[in-house]
């Protein structure tokens, strides 16, 4: 009999790390409580899961780790409400439920053999980290072309995954450009918005795909820039957020037009989004 899709897998918090200077984003490393659950939970970067805390409910979060990072899942969570407030107060080895994996991942079949431009802003970098780690894994790297990552935040303290960013910048099989709106005295990299850096670097759109995740205003300007760089609508990949409950396309809440962000998304190409009403 098929598993009850409303039932979370039991898991534990293994480690909690504060991600940003404002201390309202934490990354949780979670591990399944039993090997069967771990084995059943097979996912690809771009997908999300609903984390479950009895008494508080559930909330959806992008999976920030790649399946190549075996034995655990990373979720970065910003404290904004009831559920996230409680989650932020927890430490290892608190129990937690994981329901998923949900949604459609980034289009890995299409991404193979292409040059990839990844543009991220602020807190929305979670599934992009998963994607980058997946691409960089030795078993996968050769399947993809060049990798350009542009990641921006308001201040240096708001950049997430700084240890990973430093490791990536030390590598030669990808380029990582970081930018902030308000640098501090130690900041030596770009200043300004992500789109300025993007337009300055002028990545070629030939045989390339762009993946964009960020706050709505960043996405809007990034789309304009990518248009100028001649990226076609079906070559631009976005990941959307919506208020969700069931996560499996039944409760009727997260739709944009006839598509449910939880089931048909959260990954959409720009071409797909253009066919949908602007209600997000």
């Amino acid at each position: 009999m098929a598993r009850n899709p409303y039932l979370p897998y039991p898991a534990r918090i293994e480690e909690v790390a504060v991600e940003n200077a404002a201390r309202d984003i934490k990354t949780f490393r979670l591990a399944f409580a039993d090997p069967e659950s771990a084995a059943e939970f097979r996912y690809m970067p771009g997908q999300f899961a609903e984390l479950s805390l009895p008494g508080l409910g559930e909330a959806p979060f992008g999976i920030a780790s790649s399946p190549t990072e075996a034995g655990y899942l990373l979720f970065s969570v910003k404290r904004v409400g009831l559920f996230t407030g409680e989650l932020h107060s927890l430490e290892a080895p608190a129990p937690i439920g994981i329901r998923g994996p949900m949604g459609k991942p980034f289009p890995w079949d299409r991404m193979a053999g292409k040059d990839l431009v990844i543009v991220g802003g602020g807190f929305a970098f979670t599934t992009l980290r998963a994607a980058i780690q997946y691409i960089l894994d030795p078993a996968n790297r050769a399947r993809f072309g060049s990798l350009l990552v542009i990641y921006g935040a308001r201040t240096p303290g708001e950049l997430m995954y700084r240890k990973d960013l430093a490791e990536w910048q030390a590598r030669d099989d990808l380029q990582v450009h970081l930018t902030v709106d308000e640098p501090d005295a130690d900041w030596k990299q770009h200043k300004g918005v992500v789109t300025t850096v993007l337009e300055g670097l002028k990545p070629s759109s030939q045989n390339a795909l762009a993946v964009v995740c960020g706050p709505p205003v960043m996405i809007r300007f990034a789309l304009l820039s990518l248009g100028k760089l001649r990226f076609a609508d079906d070559a631009i990949i976005l990941s959307l957020e919506m208020r969700m409950k069931c996560g499996i396309g039944k409760c009727g809440r997260c739709n944009i037009g006839h598509k449910y962000v939880c089931r048909d998304g959260p990954v959409f190409t720009r071409e797909e989004l253009k066919a949908l009403p602007v209600e997000y």
Binding site: A2, N4, P5, Y6, L7, P8, P10, P54, G55, L56, G57, E58, A59, V80, G81, T84, P95, G97, P216, E241, M242, R243, K245, C246, I248, G249, K250, C251, G252, R253, C254, N255, I256, G257, H258, R263, P277, E279, Y280
Partner: protein, 336 residues
């Protein structure tokens, strides 16, 4: 399809017989004299003189309040799914058809809903054809009909002192076979009269034009008509809660003592909180966007996803709206 007959006076015996196999629901009158689908047996005989129930039967497959699981002391317990058969008698064809719409949502896709699936699998629907539609009925315009058997296992029809019956599914055949001793064959004249009765009922309904409604709605997405259409809407949720195809739900955790129940409750896209993000952003900030969503979901998105309109023309939303909004008016204006 209609081929069996039972006198009205024997209906109670048939219901009693089904009652030995499981739970039975049949029409009754409540203290205010309104028809309701109530648990059988009742204090009097089953009622056959009514138009339709105020509440749709969807609560029997999708309860207003349903426990999905319980958490206690670190363990999770799923509620035992009922093994009991349920027989619904007296459901109108529009409401039976609505079950098919709900099936598409809850049984379809790559995840099926075990709570809904079990209730549905254990349910048999004996629909009662309509002889007298009301002025708010428009089932024929949305693919149904007063004698339509879609969604029903058995179709019944009252004719003079008799109830005519016919099986519409294998489950229906089995059901009628199990009470074969109470039934006689319906004479051809009666069957013919039944068909005429259904035809007459169909002719009584004022048509509502839903030709190409999905396309018309798509083209009207940015029309100013949504502003005027939604002005009166109070956001009260009555339409959705009474609608037999509306299925949007919420999942919340209910904490009582040491036990946490994760419950599913009905929700409504007309409520302001329905799509409110934790960040404060709301993609549907005013009544206009929410009312438009309601119409789009029922007449366009459902068509695009399931090839079926999520409106069965029962008219409950029209009759019960506290400010008498009528979606037929909006349908007329779309693409006009």
């Amino acid at each position: 399809m209609i081929d069996k007959r039972i006198p009205h006076t024997d209906l109670d015996r048939l219901l009693d017989r089904l009652g030995k196999r499981g739970a039975v629901y049949a029409p009754a009158k409540d203290e205010a004299g309104e028809a309701v689908l109530a648990a059988w047996p009742q204090s009097g005989p089953a009622v056959l003189e009514y138009r339709n129930f105020r509440l749709s039967p969807k609560a029997l497959v999708l309860p207003q309040n349903q426990t999905l699981m319980c958490f206690k002391n670190g363990d999770v317990a799923e509620p035992a799914l009922s093994d009991r058969e349920t027989f619904l008698f007296g459901v109108r064809p529009c409401d039976a058809r609505a079950m098919l719409a709900l099936d598409k949502v809850f049984l379809g896709g790559d995840q099926h809903d075990p709570y809904y699936a079990r209730r549905r699998a254990k349910m048999a629907v004996i629909a009662l054809a309509c002889a007298r539609p009301t002025s708010s009925c428009f089932c024929t315009s949305v693919g149904g009909g007063p004698g339509d058997a879609a969604g029903a296992d058995v179709l019944a029809l009252t004719l003079d002192a008799d109830l005519l019956l016919g099986a519409a599914t294998a489950k229906g055949r089995e059901l009628l076979a199990s009470v074969a001793d109470l039934l006689t064959d319906a004479p051809p004249a009666a069957v013919k009269e039944a068909e005429e009765q259904i035809q007459a009922a169909e002719n009584q309904m004022a048509p509502v034009n839903v030709d190409n409604i999905a396309l018309r709605l798509r083209d009207a997405y940015d029309s100013p008509l949504w502003e005027t259409a939604s002005q009166k809407c109070l956001g009260c949720g009555t339409c959705s809660y009474l609608c037999p195809t509306c299925h949007c739900f919420d999942i919340t955790d209910d904490v009582r003592g040491g036990t946490v129940r994760r419950v599913r409750t009905w929700d409504c896209c007309a409520y302001p909180l329905f799509t409110l993000h934790a960040s404060g952003h709301n993609p549907r900030p005013t009544a206009k966007e929410r009312w438009r969503q309601r119409m789009m979901h029922k007449f366009r998105y459902a068509a695009e996803n399931f090839d079926q309109l999520f409106c069965v023309g029962c008219g409950r939303c029209i009759r019960n709206c506290p400010v008498s909004m009528d979606l037929r008016t909006v349908l007329k204006e779309v693409g006009a």
